[in-house]
Symmetry: C2
Subunit: 294 residues, 2 copies
Amino acid sequence: MAITDSCRSDVSVASAQLAPVFGDLARNRARAEEAIRNAAGAGARLVVLPELCTTGYAFADESQARELGEPADGPTVTRWRELAAALRIVIVGGFCECDGGPPRNSAAIVDADGGLTVYRKTHLWDREQLLFVAGDTPPPVVATAAGRVGVAVCYDAFFPEVMRALALAGAELIAVPMNSPVMDPPGRTQPLAVEVVQALAAAGANRVFVVQADRTGRERGIEWAGASVICDPDGRLLAGPVADFERPALLTATCDLALARDKRLGARNDVFADRRADLYRDAATTNPTKETVN
Amino acid sequence: MAITDSCRSDVSVASAQLAPVFGDLARNRARAEEAIRNAAGAGARLVVLPELCTTGYAFADESQARELGEPADGPTVTRWRELAAALRIVIVGGFCECDGGPPRNSAAIVDADGGLTVYRKTHLWDREQLLFVAGDTPPPVVATAAGRVGVAVCYDAFFPEVMRALALAGAELIAVPMNSPVMDPPGRTQPLAVEVVQALAAAGANRVFVVQADRTGRERGIEWAGASVICDPDGRLLAGPVADFERPALLTATCDLALARDKRLGARNDVFADRRADLYRDAATTNPTKETVN
């Protein structure tokens, strides 16, 4: 909390857009560490790294995910815990988790004291279904040194329910490690990529900060959206997307978390209090049968 | 249904961005009728008009809303029903509803045979709370001659639950009559207005078309966002926003409703089937208390 302004609660944050090389664990770990150090050097108290940032994304099959994966006490996350504690920075990053059982598409949330929470992606995209087992625990909200941090991994964030649930659970900032392939090249002619639109909409609808870290660099024929952004609770861009989306980059912004704790909107509205949950539940939990016709 | 392509189900639609003059019912009704006729003349089978498009928005107090309001069988909606039947066009438009009781911020959904459904806005924005009583019936999905049409009025659409519920209830297209004041002028420096971002995100997350009709023209010191757009189920712009957002305009696009009935996304995903409703419900229906910390 800033003492000079009792209403503000500023936290500097960073989103690291990286270009992993598939399967080159040593090199990718070094790049992640460099990004963490750069973020800390820039004054950030939280840094978000992309999904699966030490292995790369395009596994040929499950056995390759097993081979390249590592447990949550393996070298990648252990190093992140050391760095977090040494640099006093919160790290949220994606890694391929495997401890002998089926591989998981996981995110580590490492607090600035090295404390660890692991989240296993619950909505698997496309071929991930052939490689990973989905998690059965909801995306968490973790009380960290850099505020209450929610986490959603890539396709998770495409579900408005996920972002809403994280915000209702008290997240002030939602970290989104991402690996988003470009699905439709003509989409680039739009003013903003769909992944950026989703992040902005979730930030605005829930009045939270969203720190999204996408990957870049071609990999086995896949192009990436480069949709790294930092969004504020008004649903506006604080940083990113990177103009040349094929370039690694470190985005930084100052987030006043007090804004995310205040769900009021204008003089008479509040995006949480104004919810009419009684009116949503029916339709939200049933199949398409409702119809109102006079 | 187009016979030449059995997979397609094309419907031409229009969004009419209008500039009502506050309190000038005759003039505003004439402008709405002109827009309906222009839409039909352009081949549209559905036209969306802005919120409160025959009265204007900035009522001084409730008594003025009572004075300018009219029942659902009053001149405005009666005329829309005549026009719909004569022109074979579905009309969705906002009007100030008053039948002697408290005023309502309502939308008429008029089918191409003149059949009427009335929806009363359930999420009231700012001073609307001093003027109107909120509806207690969820936003409806109406089976019309132009497909299954959901409706949400302005601030309703800001709630991801509303748009999700309409889509789950079978809406292929969501009509959004809107009167959105510009809340924060610096927002204009963003690539897209927040109201456009929300419409695009809802379209993409739910794989539906969104036809949003905002108003324009200054009124009692209020500026408007001019956020009229037509969005496709990929969350991309088919038409709008109008470059000069202070100008009335008629946006048109062809919507293949078959795309909105197919919730698949890529080879292995489906935005409805992939929902993990068991994981959302807890957080979505409780207060911010959940926390996961190791």
